[in-house]
């Protein structure tokens, strides 16, 4: 379709492209600032006042040396990796099972189970009663308190269910005739067909767990050795307690000016892994968001 390009259209296009470029700059600038600040000369950093587009003074990796040697950051990294791996594996297994079961149409308990799950999306016990139950189970201050509660997300179950339902029944029928049980059918025949939904759930879970801090902050208050990375990040960034990370023989005297440097370096160290993975996984996130919501 050939269209006359009107003057107003040209103006609109210029403004629109300009707006998009501006938006991208706004999205990137704070992150770029942090990256540049993390390798800047700490003394000059103290007296600077604007957004950085290049490192100040001589490039230095002192901050990274401090951060990467730090036992807290290492502990946090290991714990976070463990929580990400365990919740992902456990979560995906339970989500697949639940989605599979409520997608069966010849089950008498299909509706009760679906309603049981659906209801929790609308109403819940809330923070304090949940805490009391988990405390009564003896899970407080153990890693199970951040792994098990919340390992299943009802939304993903219904996502999985609709994926199963969209598969043609013929796949299953032929397997049934060969005498395969439900578990065999699910694992051998249906799972390979819903690979992309499984990938979506796994991706969301990885990002969510990597960034999660609240459950750990209430359930692991007394066990620093079990803290995920984000709790140490909170200590450094939000509670402004770089003292803990800098304490030690060599650092105390430098604390004054190294504080900012450590903050920025820790931010980069904690954020870079997710930002490096995300562009490659973007299509799954887009898919995940659109599965549930597009209607009509």
């Amino acid at each position: 379709m050939v269209e006359k390009v009107s003057f107003s259209r040209v103006v609109f296009n210029i403004l629109n492209y300009g707006f998009m470029i501006l938006l991208c700059i706004v999205c990137i600038a704070p992150l770029w600032h942090v990256m540049m600040a993390s390798v800047s000369d700490p003394r000059e950093l103290m007296s600077s006042s604007g957004l950085l587009y290049k490192p100040l003074g001589h490039i230095t990796f002192k901050g990274y040396q401090l951060v990467l040697k730090n036992p807290n950051i290492i502990t946090g990294y290991i714990n976070t990796l463990f929580y990400v791996a365990s919740t992902t594996i456990l979560g995906i297994i339970l989500t697949i099972i639940a989605g599979f079961v409520i997608s069966r149409d010849n089950l008498k308990l299909k509706t009760p189970i679906s309603v049981m799950i659906l209801f929790t999306m609308m109403f819940g016990g809330g923070l304090i009663p949940t805490y009391m139950v988990i405390k009564a189970l003896g899970m407080v201050n153990t890693s199970s308190a951040v792994i098990i509660p919340g390992v299943i997300n009802a939304f993903y179950i219904f996502m999985m269910k609709s994926s199963f339902e969209q598969l043609p029944a013929s796949y299953e029928e032929s397997a049934k005739l060969d005498g395969a049980g439900p578990l065999t059918i699910m694992i051998k025949i249906l799972l390979p067909l819903i690979k992309s939904t499984i990938a979506v759930v796994i991706m969301f879970n990885i990002v969510m767990q990597w960034n999660s801090w609240f459950p750990a902050s209430i359930y692991l208050a007394g066990r620093r050795d079990l803290w995920p990375l984000q709790l140490f990040m909170r200590e450094i960034l939000v509670q402004n307690d770089t003292g803990k990370i800098l304490s030690g023989s060599d650092a105390q005297s430098k604390a004054d000016f190294a504080t900012n440097l450590v903050k920025y370096c820790a931010t980069v160290v904690a954020t870079l892994p997710i930002l490096c993975v995300y562009p490659f996984a973007q299509k799954y996130f887009v898919k995940g968001v659109t599965i549930g919501g597009v209607k009509g």
Partner: protein, 314 residues
């Protein structure tokens, strides 16, 4: 299978068909048992635990031994000096998101749809979705740093005539800081769903509108927007159901006692009263009030949209 269905239809056979069902599907039920146990323990036991909202709860005496106080906890909450304040904060912070962030995601999707350079469009998408993947802790750390008394944003505003100060300690700024940081983090990501909806609007409608002489703006208004209306309504209902949660973990990281007057919301109040001050029964009551209002808002908005827009999520 068809035989099974017919058996289900006759009420007389109900008992034996249950038996049949279990006999036929016991492996499936065994498979799903862990999920049922999980939901029972971590979702339904806490719902039962809400009984503590009506008790003077002490962990030693437990759910059954604590003193029953009826609606005292609720009355205490409704007559608390900060009740209207935290209720107002909850609604203001939520509604700012609903009235500003939400429409802006739609506008952003519409504007992006007008860009025809595929590479440029893809680049904008990748970059604008990115902030969503940064953790709340890091975002809040950046915000606190940028608005501190020598922060990047503070310096900018000082040049524009603001008095130098740590903006995080001034209650006047909190709503704006929270809204803008939400917008920074969520604008691109929030638009994904609308971009997808736009791409599923039929091309024929656009062509028909173009033949009728409709310009770009008219086509966006008369074709694209009605085309994505069901998606907009669905997302709106879901947002209404989340009004009472207001991204409270972010507020928890950002706020401090000097700005409670604008930053304290119901959910943060529950956390503080319950876990820091050990007022268990009271905070469970506040939490129950919060989730009842939230569920009601969800059901009401769903009902309204079912009646007037013929779309609903539930």
């Amino acid at each position: 299978m068809s035989l099974n269905k017919e058996l289900n239809k006759t009420p007389k056979m109900a008992k034996s068909s249950w038996k049949r069902d279990f006999k036929m599907n016991w492996r499936i039920y065994l498979l799903v048992l862990p999920v049922i146990i999980y939901y029972f323990i971590f979702n339904y036991l806490p719902m039962g635990g809400l009984i503590m909202a009506f008790e003077h709860f002490t962990p030693v005496k437990g759910f059954f031994g604590s003193k029953w106080v009826g609606f005292d906890n609720f009355i205490q909450f409704f007559s608390a000096p900060n009740f209207t304040q935290i209720l107002r904060n909850t609604f203001v912070i939520s509604l700012l998101g609903l009235l500003i962030s939400f429409p802006m995601s739609i506008v952003f999707a519409l504007l992006l749809n007008e860009i025809y350079n595929t590479f440029f469009k893809k680049a904008v998408q990748v970059i604008s979705y990115m902030p969503y993947f940064i953790s709340t802790v890091v975002i809040c750390g950046l915000v606190i740093d940028f608005v501190s008394s020598n922060g990047v944003i503070t310096n900018l505003l000082v040049k524009l005539g603001m008095e130098r100060q740590n903006m995080m300690l001034n209650p006047d700024f909190f709503w704006g800081i929270n809204l803008l940081s939400d917008l920074w983090q969520g604008l691109g990501y929030g638009s994904i769903i609308f971009i997808a909806a736009i791409s599923s609007v039929s091309q024929e409608q656009y062509e028909a509108a173009a033949i009728d002489g409709a310009g770009r703006l008219k086509r966006a208004w008369h074709v694209t927007l009605p085309g994505i209306m069901p998606t907009i309504i669905t997302m709106l209902i879901l947002r209404c159901g989340l009004i009472m949660t207001v991204g409270f973990d972010k507020i928890l990281l950002l706020y401090n006692p000097s700005i409670y007057s604008t930053a304290d919301v119901i959910a943060t109040n529950v956390q503080r009263m319950g876990l820091e001050k050990a007022q268990y029964g009271y905070s469970a009551a506040v939490g129950l009030f919060n989730s009842l209002v939230g569920t009601t808002l969800l059901l009401v908005s769903n009902g309204i949209s079912r009646k007037y827009a013929e779309h609903s999520v539930l």
